[in-house]
Every structure is written in C-alpha cells, then in structure tokens.
C-alpha cells in the first residue's frame, strides 16, 4: 500500500478509449450477420476475410448509431467525412489495415457528465467519436504452437469514444464508464456488455508531480472486462507508476494487460514509435455526407436520455435525487415510472413501489420490465387504494401485490374485495367494536386512566385481532384515544 503522503504529491491523468459494438444486424462494411457466440468462422464473407477484388460498402444504420451517440453527448457532427486506413499487421486483421476514421471523425468534441460516488459532479470532455470496424479474435492456447483466429467478429461496426485526458481518479473513470454504458443502452445502439466484450475500455494512465506543466509518460492498459476491473487496473497502475517515479525510474511508453486474478498489470509490448499506422484516406469508400434532413430525422428519433429523465423526475414529479438516480439507471424502469406517473399523483409512493417491490420481484424472477405482468395503470390502482385508506400499506405489499402478479388481469380493488382485505374504516362499526372491547376489559381501562398509557397498544391489538388486521390503524387509534379519554 502506497504511503498516502507520497500519493498526495502526485496528480493522476487518465484518458479512456471506449469501443462499443453497435447493435446492427450486419457488419459495418459487409452483409455478414453480427452475432455473439456462433461457431468460429461462420459469420464471414469474402469482404470480411479481405479477399482481393472485394469492396466494402457502408452500413447506413451504423452511421446513424454513431450520430445518435454524438448528439447525446453534444458533439459537433462532421458533415463531410472520409474513412481512413490504419495500417498494421496482425493476424486478426486480414486486410493488413483497419478501416477507421482519422482526420475527419464523425463526431467531434462533446462531453459526458459524471457524478462520482462522493457526489463530485464534472463534465469530461470528448476528443471525438469515430466509426471503425472490429478485428477478429485471436485465441492463444497454452501448449499450442499456433494462434487460432476466428473472424466472426471482424468487421463488426464499432464506435470508439475517445475522452480528453480529464479524468483524475479511478472513481471518476468508474462514473464515466457507467454513464457511457447507460447512454448507449438508452440509445439502444450497444448492449453495453463488458463481459462479452461488446463494450471495451482501454485506459491511458500517467502520473505527474502536482502542478506539473507536462504530463508524465502514459501507459495504456487493456483487458479489463468489467467497470470494476477498470477501476482496479487504474488503482494498481497509479501506485506502480508513482513507486517507479519515486525510485527515480522512467516510466516506459508501453501497453500493459490487466490480470483480474491478482489485480495487477503486466507489460504486453513496448511501443517503439508512435504513429506508425500511416493513415491515408480509404479509396474504396465514398465520402460520407450528412445532410441537414438526415441529421434532423436522427435527432427526432432520439429517445429521452437519462439526464433529461432525471431532471423531469426531480422537478416535475418532485422525487428525491436519490430516487431519480436509481430509477434512471435503467431505461425500462425509468419509462415504467414515467408511465405510472400518468396514472397517479402520489409520485413518491410510485417511486417507492418501483424501487422496492417491483425491483425486488424483477431481481428474483430474472424478468425484465417489459415482461413485468402488472401494467402501470394497475399499480396506480393499488397506490390509490392505499392513499384512500382502503387497504394498509402492509396488506398492499404483502397480499395484494403478490396476488396481482399471479392474476395480472384483476385490478387491485377486485383482489382486495374478493379476498376480503379492505380496511375497516367505517366509523360506526369500528366504534361499536371498540365499545365492546373496552367493556370486556374494565380492569385495563381503569389502569389506562390511571396513567398506564402503554395499554393503548394492547387495545389496538384487540381491534386488529377482531377485524383480522383490516381496521384502519389511524382511525382506530383516533377512536380508541377518544373513547379512553372520556
């Protein structure tokens, strides 16, 4: 563990490169199917395999997805862009180059708003978002003399989101990635699954003495398959680099891999020279021109974004920020809450129901919101039953809600009536019952009147027993107090 005093002397500079596999049916420049988990080398075409004489053709949907992300992040959308060849030799890249974008990325600038777990709010600037093709997958088996290559993934449409080096801690990196993943999921342009590699993150990390005008040498870390592992890798790297610098050693410009088992990073390759990719415009693809009409139609197709819903929930519905944050974490949950609020005005109760009973049911059953049996208007019916004192909160959550899950066609009211769960709130009949109870416990009534006020609870219990728990507790309390104090 690094001495906190030494740690204090350094400032950390982090830039993240996030690759998102776009949710398209076919690849970015070819019509082969995009599918995770197929048999090796079955989703390939002559274009993907880089056969001579084949020509790439751009997938329109991929362009639209990239623009959506750009609009959501407030990027400038480049109206005239060209693709570029990034030249390098690696077996998972059959053409000897990757089609990417260089001088004219489709989205420039923009920001991602983050909030760390300590409540620090910050905007992280984006350098760019560009379109490119994914590479194949190399498999290096122990004891195997060859590397095995599967080209199913090659040519899958990707956007690469490049942040400015404005991230200053592993917590900020964690918040940034969480936000990026939330955005791509809201936009439905990427499933954001880091375990399956549909969202991948490379971290550029450097340290420098506080206040230094120049950044330290950066190290690129790869191979993190969860947001938490990105955080762990960054934490390890910060300590490693500070220790190196403290010992007077120079940080190597290199790429390191993260090992999730021991939480350490190790050197993969030392970068000899930077920028030896010799980018040049891809002659096989025409320039891409985004017209005003096209851009407008994409803008109009944008769904509500988490930040917008957060604003709406806190200002229009007045629910606490914490609730709004939990509800907007998942788009489907957020939209369910929004729909529920069309049928009830008790917004806080709506939020409580979703964050409590609904979410725990979904977690236990493994269902998604779209598979959730109770419609928003029905849940609103249950809320209104509670609000009008017809059923108690506990009866609502423990009896009626589970019954509604089993019989989604029945309303909360119908269930409450058929199962005799309606709260007793008829003043006359309750008063009669209370009179009877008090009459049968003269001794206790006297004790109460002498000052043993705790006996009120005993009387409450009696009323509940007689009504099978259906007496309106507030009303009963009122009537009991009145009767006992006269």
């Amino acid at each position: 563990m690094l001495n906190p005093e030494i740690r204090e002397k350094y400032e950390v500079v982090i830039g993240l490169e996030v690759h998102c596999q776009l949710l398209t049916n076919s690849k970015i420049f070819a019509s082969d199917t995009v599918e995770f988990g197929s048999m090796p080398n079955t989703n390939v075409s002559v274009i993907t395999l880089g056969h001579p004489g084949t020509l790439p053709k751009l997938n329109k949907k991929a362009v639209e997805h990239a623009i959506k992300m750009g609009l959501a992040c407030g990027c400038h959308i480049t109206r005239h862009s060209v693709f570029a060849r990034k030249n390098y030799f690696y077996p998972d890249l059959p053409k000897g180059y990757q089609i990417s974008q260089d001088k004219t990325s489709i989205c420039l600038g923009g920001t991602i708003h983050i909030k760390t777990k300590d409540g620090v709010e910050k905007s992280i600037g984006l350098t760019r978002i560009h379109l490119e093709e994914d590479a194949g997958k190399s498999i290096h088996l122990a004891g195997e003399a060859d590397t095995l290559v599967d080209f199913n993934r090659a040519g899958t449409a990707l956007i690469e989101i490049v942040s400015e080096p404005e991230i200053r801690s592993s917590d900020e990196a964690y918040a940034y990635l969480t936000e990026v993943r939330k955005l791509v999921r809201y936009l439905e342009i990427c499933d954001g699954n880091m375990e399956e590699g549909s969202l991948r993150c490379d971290a550029n990390i450097s340290v420098m003495p506080k206040g230094s005008p120049v950044f330290g040498t950066k190290v690129e870390v790869k191979n993190m398959n969860s947001i938490n592992n990105v955080k762990r890798a960054i934490e390890y790297e910060i300590e490693r680099q500070i220790l190196e610098v403290e010992q007077g050693k120079a940080i190597q410009l290199e790429t390191r891999l993260f090992n999730a088992n021991n939480g350490q990073t190790y050197s993969m390759r030392v970068k000899e020279t930077m920028n030896d990719y010799r980018y040049f415009p891809e002659p096989d693809l025409t320039p891409l021109v985004i017209s005003e009409e096209w851009l407008t139609s994409i803008r109009q197709s944008l769904p509500s974004l988490p930040q917008e819903l957060f604003e709406k929930f806190t200002s229009k519905y007045g629910i606490p920020e914490y609730d709004a944050l939990v509800l907007t974490d998942n788009k489907e949950i957020a939209l369910y809450f929004d729909a529920l609020c069309h049928y009830t005005t008790n917004y806080k109760s709506a939020s409580n129901w979703i964050m409590g009973s609904v979410k725990s049911y979904l977690n236990e059953s493994g269902l998604t919101v779209s598979q959730f049996p109770i419609l928003p208007e029905q849940l609103a019916g249950l809320i209104s039953l509670v609000d009008s004192n017809k059923v108690s909160n506990s009866v609502a959550s423990q009896k009626i809600f589970p019954a509604m899950l089993k019989q989604p066609s029945l309303s909360a009211l119908a269930i409450a009536e058929s199962q005799n769960l309606m709260q007793e709130s008829d003043t006359n009949s309750l008063q009669t019952l209370i009179n009877e109870i008090l009459a049968s416990h003269p001794q206790k009534v006297t004790e109460y009147k002498k000052g043993k006020k705790g006996l009120l609870g005993m009387f409450m219990g009696e009323v509940m027993k007689k009504t099978g728990g259906k007496a309106d507790p507030k009303l009963t309390n009122e009537l009991l107090s009145k009767s006992l104090n006269t």
């Binding site: 076919s26 395999l49 053709k57 329109k60 991929a62 590397t147 021109v289």
Partner: protein, 95 residues
C-alpha cells in the same frame, strides 16, 4: 527530402518486406529518386486547395442494415495456408 538508411529499414519493417543487405544502396537510391520526382509537386501553391481524397464525385454509397447468408464455413477456410476444422491457424503471436 532525402531518406536515409534508417528510414529505409523502418519502412521495410512496417511493410514486413525483406531485402538483401547488399542491395540496400540501390534501394535507397531508388526511393530517393522517387521522392525527388514527387517533390516536383511542391512547386505548386496549394494553400487554398482542399485535399482531393477521392477521384470520383460520388458520395454516400451505402447499404441498408440487412444480413445476408455468410460464406459457407468450408469455403471460408479454403484458401488458408493452415487451418483446422474451425479456425485459421497462424504462427503464434504472443508467447
């Protein structure tokens, strides 16, 4: 602009090209001859000229996002110098 031996070797390495060290001088002379020839273009002032990236005026040649049947697996692997039932096999990349 003149390339030196260092640059020549670097370019050869990046392109994964090998040549006989005896012919290095000849290679270098050739490369420099080409460079000198292309340098002729520097005589033109291109200050206000946009880069010409494509020879055709055509833009936005795109396809709809429709998946089509892939290449049959055995055909896909047909030309591979080395393969097994599932994979292309290449010399080991990482030790």
């Amino acid at each position: 602009m003149q390339a030196d031996r260092e640059t020549l070797r670097k370019i050869a390495h990046l392109a994964r090209l090998e040549f006989n060290p005896d012919s290095e001088k000849e290679m270098l002379d050739s490369v420099n001859e080409i460079l000198t020839w292309v340098e002729k273009l520097n005589e033109i002032d291109t200050t206000h000229v946009e880069p010409l990236t494509h020879m055709s005026e055509e833009v936005n040649v795109m396809r709809e996002d429709i998946a089509k049947p892939p290449l049959p697996h055995d055909r896909a692997l047909l030309n591979a110098p080395k393969k097994d039932a599932d994979y292309f096999r290449v010399p080991k990349v990482i030790e």
